[in-house]
């Protein structure tokens, strides 16, 4: 009786070892906070491991085209994953919107930003940080918001542009720019703005920031890649995503 149970134990150990894979994720800078929590839950519940690189989506695109070892892309937009799929660099049928980004005008100091964004019309500030609209969806949304508000032309001499939304946040958090358009996810903890003052820009003021994910060619045969995307759709992950201030499709 003893021997078979030992065998079962050894086999179980072995198969657990064989099925636990590592997946390489390329993650948009604005999703750095939530992905950390999601990866911890993912590793705990599936036994797989996930290695996260965060950065600008355009940079990831160039790296993926040139053979970077990423297996899953969590993009800051919906265009890049679509393009990768068209070019045969992402596995077709795996693309989906994992989060819809929300924009916030934020200052680390209380009382600087009002709840209507009127500070942009009247405010006396020297610098307004936003992500480079040429390359970053959150920057584009910020420009659309100011155009909708009629403040874009007046404010553009005060722009300082972050390379991505993480750097934009850093410009504001360090006080070098008095306020800036950041991702709501960067300043939200457990469903509310954690510090300072913010205007949560109504979603109607800019085109929706759809953030799509896809399995890349390198991850085609990695079960952990598919498992991660499945986990990203789970209720548990969705609750984390919502808690960081994203909308869900």
């Amino acid at each position: 009786m003893r021997q078979p149970s030992l065998l079962v134990a050894v086999l179980a150990l072995f198969s657990a070892g064989a099925s636990a894979e590592t997946v390489q994720l390329a993650v948009a800078a604005n999703f750095a906070g939530p992905v950390k929590r999601i990866v911890a839950d993912f590793e705990q519940s599936t036994g797989h491991k996930a290695v996260v690189s965060t950065g600008a989506t355009g940079k990831f695109y160039a790296q993926i085209v040139n053979g970077a070892p990423f297996e899953v892309l969590l993009s800051a937009d919906d265009e890049t994953p679509a393009r990768l799929e068209r070019e045969g660099r992402a596995q077709s049928g795996t693309r989906f919107t994992y989060a819809v980004g929300r924009l916030a005008l934020w200052s680390p100091n209380a009382g600087v930003v009002d709840g209507e964004g009127a500070v942009l019309k009247t405010g006396d500030f020297r610098r307004l940080a936003l992500a480079n609209p040429k390359v970053a969806p959150y920057g584009q949304a910020a420009v659309e918001t100011m155009k909708a508000q009629g403040t874009h032309e007046r404010l553009s001499p005060r722009f300082v542009l972050g390379e991505n939304i993480a750097q934009t946040h850093q410009f504001v958090a360090s006080g070098n720019a008095e306020l800036g358009f950041v991702a709501l996810s960067q300043v939200t903890r457990d469903g509310k703005v954690a510090e300072g003052s913010a205007w949560i820009v109504p979603a109607s003021m800019h085109a929706p920031i759809r953030q799509d994910a896809a399995v890349l060619l390198r991850g085609k045969d990695n079960p952990a890649a598919a498992a991660f995307l499945a986990f990203l759709r789970s209720d548990k992950a969705r609750a984390v995503i919502r808690g960081f201030g994203y909308d869900l499709p």
Partner: protein, 226 residues
């Protein structure tokens, strides 16, 4: 025309930044290099190490500390605000300050080596002929250290042109103010404008090669100064 107006503006800005940085570094670096080459002070080692720091520190360290120190809550930021200058990040002046720090060893080290290679007896001979210290410096030391000055100018200029990480962190990517060529190239790559990126990147490569070729032709490696 492969270069857009924005590209040309970035090129102009980069040349202005590198030129001004080199000039300031020559003014500040020459006395510093002279002191380092001639002093017997116990501080020599420490000062030499501080000058060499930008060689080994990643630009992210320099950029991060400058952003914090020059910002409104940093000690230098409070100083510049008190002087009525405002804060320096996101301005051309801020980039000049950062570049002077970042390129410091590339100017000071060739000059120090060149000054150290001047035989003591030549300076003593000048002194016995009643040349004052300044006279000796300008009419004996500087001509003898000419290869060092050439290396210092070329390397200081070229290294500033090649700066990226520090500018990215404290520049804020403002056209005509802080958007230098290296940042413009990065933007093109990010925006998937690879053709424009190639023109600027290729231009940088050719520029860097020609500058070093000129330097090594006039001033072959291994000779004093480099």
């Amino acid at each position: 025309m492969p270069f857009s107006d924005a590209d040309l503006a970035a090129v102009g800005l980069t040349l202005r930044l590198a030129g001004l940085t080199t000039l300031l570094l020559l003014l500040a670096g020459t006395p510093l290099a002279w002191w380092l080459a001639r002093t017997r002070s116990p501080l020599k080692g420490a000062v030499g190490a501080i000058v060499a720091l930008p060689l080994v520190l990643p630009p992210t360290v320099i950029g991060f500390y400058l952003l914090v120190a020059l910002g409104p809550n940093g000690p230098l930021g409070q100083l510049t605000t008190a002087l009525g200058l405002g804060t320096l990040p996101f301005t051309f002046s801020g980039l000049v300050v950062a570049s002077v720090l970042y390129s410091l060893p590339f100017v000071v080290q060739p000059l120090t080596n060149a000054f150290a290679a001047i035989p003591e007896r030549l300076l003593e001979a000048a002194a016995t002929l009643r040349a004052g210290p300044l006279d000796t410096f300008f009419h004996v030391a500087v001509p003898l250290a000419r290869p060092g000055f050439l290396s210092a100018m070329v390397l200081g200029f070229a290294h500033t042109v090649g700066e990226f990480g520090v500018v990215l962190m404290i520049g804020g990517n403002i056209p005509g103010q802080t958007r230098v060529v290296s940042v413009q190239i990065y933007d093109h790559v990010e925006a998937l404008e690879y053709a424009q990126a190639h023109w600027l990147a290729g231009g940088m490569l050719v520029f860097a090669f020609l500058v070093l070729l000129a330097l090594y032709t006039i001033n072959p490696p291994g000779r004093r100064g480099l």
